[in-house]
């Protein structure tokens, strides 16, 4: 009996150690839809703040703003976020109300601001779950891209209690946009406060025949508009030019409304501009709608129309402004589809991992820039166009993808498409040349110091780039596991993640195919915000 007593006692002691080394491991896989946005300088093509020196301030507005959050599941106060390394990683709340579908797209607007850059915004229409990649080109006012002319003049006139004392005229250096401010007009900011003191004026003109300018077009060329009759429509702009005007006083108040008169805006329109209503270049006598932009909603409002006039041999469009905004001369084409044709990316040899393909879409009618497109391609998963113009022939010129080993075959460069909303699939041929590259796997586990036995295996977007290249490419991490294909043995790469308005990165010298990062301690504030401990 003594023997059995000892056995029991021994067993009890051992029971205390049964759970030793065993953890509660959580697959932090709550996110179904991610929205990754990269901010580029429109002139240099570089990520804004790639060195970590500046951050773009982002505010989410629009009908589904409450469905947008940080990828850790935290929704910031006032829906405001800031970029790191030129990247913002957001996600949709995985609730039924924000489950994107063709019948119920999730729509929100991203208002972006950065000192020294023209404020802009971009509307996002998400129609399916998965990874969504976007690009916003921002115009640096002291170094604009080709096709964008900026004139910033200080002290052009003055105001007393909102009333402009003397008339002023400000033009861009190219002379393509001019505003005329009459005397005695009263200017107030959006809060109804009158401007006073010295008046500064910024006039920025976007040339509609220049691709760089169109790519930096605030709000893009696939907008939601409110027509003159009050109806709301989605569709596509055929642009005849864009003018951004900012009027500020000495206190920094921005003019928003006018009383006792109008400000005259005049723009010179390129004769190469395509008029879709006449299917020919624009001509004197053609009528073009005028739109104002609400950057909070990312939507354009039809203010009226103007008739092209021939003045000194140049086509001129002018319009009296009753309030201050960004203005646009555009023909609107309202036929589109939320989810269009399927793309089939066919490689000449099997590709096992996921990768990103980027392209620029042009309209075939006038060969003008339409939008940047991104496709996140995974084996055996269909890829669809979303929010595409219907019945309009377009072409996609493919750029570099996320992987240097994958290129679009000459037979598909560019890819010509008659109708993005047709049911027939669009085939894009790829050439896969793995060469001296390999595929590495990364295994990540993190924890909070206050709960070391709870291990978190993250699932969200990550980024990587060759060291010092700054060309961050996306990679998906699921359940703490990420696979990066096409990296070169011996080369050094940076792998980073964006969450909680912060950027975290690590350097990886590729010497083996498997990298394990366990025991990463999460910042206390993240543990507190996300897990509550």
């Amino acid at each position: 009996m003594l023997l059995f007593g000892l056995i029991f006692i021994s067993s009890c002691n051992k029971l205390e150690n049964v759970a030793d080394g065993v953890k509660l491991i959580i697959d932090y896989n709550l996110i179904e839809t991610t929205v990754d946005v990269q901010f580029f300088d429109a002139a240099t093509g570089e990520l804004i703040g790639r060195n970590g020196d500046v951050s773009v301030n982002v505010k989410i507005t629009g009908p589904d703003k409450d469905g947008v959050m940080d990828i850790t599941g935290v929704q910031n106060e006032d829906n405001q976020y800031s970029s790191q390394r030129g990247i913002v990683g957001l996600a949709l709340i995985p609730e039924a109300a924000y489950m994107p579908s063709e019948s119920r797209p999730v729509v929100f607007n991203m208002v972006t601001e950065l000192s020294g850059y023209l404020s802009t915004s971009q509307k996002f229409t998400v129609v399916s779950e998965g990874r969504n990649q976007y690009r916003i080109n921002m115009v640096r006012l002291d170094n604009p891209p080709q096709g964008v002319a900026v004139n910033r003049e200080s002290g052009v006139t003055s105001a007393i209690n909102g009333r402009i004392e003397s008339p002023a005229t400000v033009s861009t250096s190219s002379g393509k946009a001019t505003i005329e401010i009459p005397a005695d007009i009263v200017m107030r900011d959006s809060g109804g406060n009158p401007l006073s003191g010295s008046i500064n004026v910024d006039v920025i003109h976007f040339d509609n025949t220049n691709d760089e300018a169109l790519a930096a077009f605030p709000g893009g060329l696939m907008p939601t508009v409110t027509r003159a009759d009050g109806s709301v429509a989605d569709g596509m702009f055929y642009s005849a030019g864009f003018v951004a005007i900012e009027i500020t006083d000495a206190s920094g108040r921005h003019a928003a409304t006018f009383e006792n008169g109008t400000v005259r805006m005049e723009a010179i329109v390129s004769p190469e501009t395509y008029n879709p209503e006449t299917n020919s270049p624009v001509a004197a006598g053609d009528e073009v709608p005028v739109w104002s932009y609400d950057e909070n909603t990312g939507e354009w409002k039809e203010e009226g129309s103007t008739t092209m006039q021939l003045v000194n041999g140049q086509l001129v469009a002018d319009f009296p402004l009753t309030h201050l905004s960004y203005y646009n001369f555009d023909w609107f084409y309202g036929d589109y589809c939320y989810q269009g044709a399927a793309f089939q990316f066919m490689a000449d040899s099997p590709i096992t991992g996921c990768f990103l393909m980027q392209g620029t879409m042009y309209r075939q009618d006038d060969n003008s820039y339409l939008m940047d497109v991104y496709f996140w391609i995974c084996p055996d998963e269909p890829v669809y166009t979303s929010y595409a113009p219907s019945g309009i022939p377009v072409k996609i010129v493919w750029g570099e993808g996320s992987n240097s080993t994958i290129a679009v075959a000459p037979s598909s460069q560019p890819t010509l498409i008659n109708d993005l909303c047709a049911s027939s699939p669009i085939q894009v041929d790829l050439v896969y040349s793995p060469g001296n590259t390999t595929t590495i796997t990364i295994d990540v586990e993190a924890y909070c110091a206050s709960e070391p036995n709870v291990i978190i295996r993250p699932s969200f977007s990550a980024w990587y780039c060759a060291i010092n290249s700054w060309n961050w490419m996306p990679v998906t991490m699921e359940n703490g596991y990420a696979e990066i294909m096409g990296v070169e043995v011996g080369e050094t790469y940076m792998v980073g993640v964006y969450y909680d308005n912060q950027w975290h990165e690590t350097e990886v010298v590729v010497t083996t195919e498997e990298y394990t990062y366990v025991g990463i301690e999460l910042p206390t504030e993240v543990c507190d915000e996300v897990f509550g401990y």
């Binding site: 009996m1 059995f4 056995i7 029991f8 021994s10 067993s11 051992k14 150690n17 049964v18 759970a19 030793d20 080394g21 065993v22 953890k23 509660l24 491991i25 959580i26 697959d27 932090y28 896989n29 709550l30 959050m69 940080d70 850790t72 599941g73 935290v74 929704q75 709340i93 995985p94 291990i455 295996r457 359940n479 703490g480 915000e529 996300v530 897990f531 509550g532």
Partner: protein
């Protein structure tokens, strides 16, 4: 038969009084750490008994309290088929040995009853998932050894009583670990192996058996 008579049946059993020619068979009921069961006993000789038995018990405890975050259940499935031999080494003492077909299985499961708040998200219990943990003997065929007092088959009477303690050597326990939802990685092979390693010392299952037997022939 009273307890006193049972005691006397055990008490009068002695080396001197054993009738070497008295063979017999009987049946018994028992309550053991393998659960309640029955047994057929054959007395090959007064000192040597063969026992073929079986046990079965299934007990489930559900902890169901919506006021706390985690509920679960414990499930004990105890069953065995045994073939033992008893040899009386002294007046009322015997040693026992044999083999068990061990079908014991202990299970625990747990699941969340309330949503969890993660950041701005309310995560439903179904999404969080559940944990299911089972322990089985390392070997189904389990050698057994024990010692006892009393008789598994009465020498001269009808009823006998025996108490027995021993150990079944079932080998290092096998662990099944399953997890669903967000907890799925908790059920990884590494975690399961870690639990098996931690339980590796528990290779003996203690046996305590109380048996009441009836001589038929």
């Amino acid at each position: 038969m009273s307890a006193q008579e049972l005691y006397e049946d055990v008490e009068y059993t002695s080396e001197e009084s054993i009738d070497e020619s008295r063979l017999g068979i009987g049946v018994g009921i028992k309550m053991s750490t393998f659960g309640p069961g029955i047994e057929a006993i054959a007395a090959i000789s007064p000192k040597f008994h063969l026992r073929l038995g079986g046990t079965f018990m299934h007990y489930t405890y559900h902890h169901d309290d919506k006021n706390i975050e985690v509920n679960g259940s414990a499930d004990a499935h105890l069953s065995s088929v045994s073939l033992f031999a008893n040899y009386h080494i002294a007046r009322i003492f015997f040693v026992s040995g044999g083999i068990l077909y061990n079908m014991n299985e202990i299970g625990l499961d747990g699941f969340f009853t309330k949503s969890m708040t993660i950041g701005s998200l309310e995560v439903e219990p179904e999404r969080i998932g559940a944990l299911d943990f089972k322990i089985k003997p390392g070997s189904s065929l389990t050698p057994y050894a024990g010692i006892g007092i009393g008789r598994s088959l009465s020498k001269n009477g009808v009823v006998s009583f025996a108490i027995e303690a021993g150990a079944a050597f079932h080998g290092n326990p096998k662990v099944e670990l399953k997890a669903t939802g967000m907890l799925e990685p908790t059920g990884s092979e590494e975690q399961r192996q870690q639990l098996e390693d931690n339980l590796a010392g528990f290779n003996i299952y203690p046996m305590l058996n109380f048996q009441l037997s009836f001589r038929l022939l």
